[in-house]
């Protein structure tokens, strides 16, 4: 089972397709989740997902805007897609029929 951040990373990488690399994925996660993403969390999660065989990374081309430094390109594997799909379905199933109104849950305001 994937963690929340792992899922966000895979989803962002899939959306970006061939343009998925460190900085682009980080921007995509921040844009879609509307919260700050740290580079430390991103790179350690990339390593973890690569060890699990859910993504593949390699060193890509350097560009001028990066000060001539290379990119870490990312591609999601079939195993990664399957894990993300399973995670999404689980969240959907768990959420089905759940009312998120505060009064129904009895949560404090």
């Amino acid at each position: 089972m994937l963690g929340e951040f792992e899922y966000l990373l895979i989803a962002a990488a899939v959306r970006l397709g061939d343009e998925a690399y460190g900085a682009a994925v980080m921007q995509e996660i921040e844009r879609s989740s509307r919260r700050e993403c740290s580079i430390g969390a991103l790179y350690t999660t990339l390593d973890r997902l690569e060890t699990k065989g859910m993504i593949k990374t390699w060193i890509g081309k350097a560009t001028q805007e990066r000060g001539g430094r290379s990119k870490r390109m990312i591609r999601v594997t079939a195993k990664g897609v399957a894990a993300a799909t399973a995670f999404y379905e689980t969240v959907q199933q768990v959420s089905h029929g759940t009312s998120w109104q505060v009064a129904h849950t009895g949560a404090c305001k």
Binding site: A23, M26, I39, G40, S70
Partner: protein, 283 residues
């Protein structure tokens, strides 16, 4: 302040692998994040990476078997009086070691300095060769502890050292025989930790011999003082060599000698074992 954040981020990035450093610095440049945020991100990544390295047993072994036991013993053996001896000799024409001739005194200092240089270099080299990935952290701790223990073991209380800049001279002179060789040992093992077994055997032999000779000289002073108290003249190097007991000195300092020689002996053992394994695989 802005430059300080950027400089700190760059400095921290040197703790990452070269490939990762390039991609992370490139990402931070492309994202155009603020300098404090870039620093926070880099710090977080470096901490995660370093903590990950300490999940292995090698860094802990190096810390517990080399850094912690070797540093205090090195500092304890540092009390060479490299500074006090020449000052007393040139200003007052007397020896710091009563009853020891100047040639014998010079030999004593030279042997102990050579032993200290050897021990600090071999310990730092073994430290780097046994745990290359954590060489910066363990190496920094090694140098720091050597410096701290050297100040602690100086001939007079630390509070006097603040009285005059000259009061630091004995500590600094002791630093010179330990810290530069240790730093050089770390650099050598960082560049190429692989060593030839023959070279390692020669290094172990040299370390044991020079260590034994250095501890032997510790007994010279007692022999010379005994002679001097009976109104005898200052003993020459040859006379001291005849009177001081080598085996007694070795037994008295066996533990220190074993700890200080230990790292390079262990490196030799590890090297021999890996050579045997590779030969076995080829067969």
């Amino acid at each position: 302040v802005r430059n300080l954040w950027a400089w700190s981020t760059q400095a921290l990035s040197t703790l990452l692998d070269l490939g990762e450093r390039e991609t992370v610095l490139g990402d931070l440049a492309e994202l155009g994040v603020s300098d404090p945020r870039a620093f926070r991100g880099m710090l977080g990544l470096v901490l995660r990476r370093q903590l990950g390295l300490w999940k292995e047993w090698e860094p802990w072994f190096v810390l517990l078997a080399i850094v912690i036991p070797v540093c205090p013993l090195l500092a304890q053996s540092m009390d060479l009086n490299i500074f006090l001896n020449p000052v007393l000799w040139f200003h007052y024409g007397i020896s710091y070691r009563t009853g020891v001739s100047s040639a014998a005194l010079l030999a004593e200092i030279a042997l102990r300095a050579a032993a200290l240089i050897t021990w600090s270099w071999t310990s730092a080299f073994a430290l780097g060769a046994l745990s290359r990935k954590t060489i910066r952290v363990n190496g920094f701790l090694f140098l720091l502890l050597c410096a701290v223990f050297a100040v602690y073991h100086q001939p007079y209380p630390v509070r006097f050292a603040w009285a005059s800049p000259w009061a630091w001279a004995p500590v600094v002179s002791n630093f010179l025989v330990v810290l530069p060789p240790a730093y050089y040992g770390l650099r050598t093992s960082a560049r190429s930790p692989r060593t030839k077994p023959r070279w390692l055997i020669a290094l172990v032999g040299w370390t044991v011999i020079i260590g034994a000779l250095a501890f032997w000289t510790l007994g010279w002073y007692d022999a010379a003082l005994d002679n001097w108290s009976h109104a005898g003249p200052a003993l020459t190097l040859l006379q001291l060599a005849q009177r001081a007991d080598l085996s007694r000195a070795l037994v008295a300092h066996l533990f220190t000698l074993a700890v200080l020689t230990g790292p390079i002996v262990y490196l030799l053992a590890v090297n021999g074992l890996s050579n045997r394994r590779s030969r076995f695989r080829r067969a």
